[in-house]
Symmetry: C2
């Protein structure tokens, strides 16, 4: 299984788990990132991608204010 | 194995395989994206991420002119 977990870093440097088993990641033209999970669940987050580590199954995003 | 292949879409809509077995993807502050492969090989590409499909093992990027 190759899904990853998505984490959000807030401006204070804290990290929280946003979504497990993310299968599709789409940066949006209008800003933000759309995450789609294994079962079709969707989440749009105002953030930018910082790093995706496919071996560690980690997608790390940073909160944006835009 | 959860690495993905990275593809680049050019302005004309063509798609080419840029790198196989990408394990780490990092958008760069100065623009572009750094790809690191399973064996530590690195490639920096002037592109933005369009979509990452972890089930299909596809990272699709679009050429940027910045």
């Amino acid at each position: 299984m190759c899904q990853s977990n998505a984490y959000l870093l807030d401006q204070a440097g804290g990290e929280k788990l946003l979504m497990e088993d993310v299968s599709l990641i789409t940066p949006l033209d209008e800003g933000g990132v759309e995450l789609i999970g294994l079962f079709g669940d969707r989440l749009t987050v105002q953030a930018t991608i910082k790093e995706m580590d496919l071996l560690k199954h980690r997608i790390v995003m940073i909160e944006s204010n835009e």
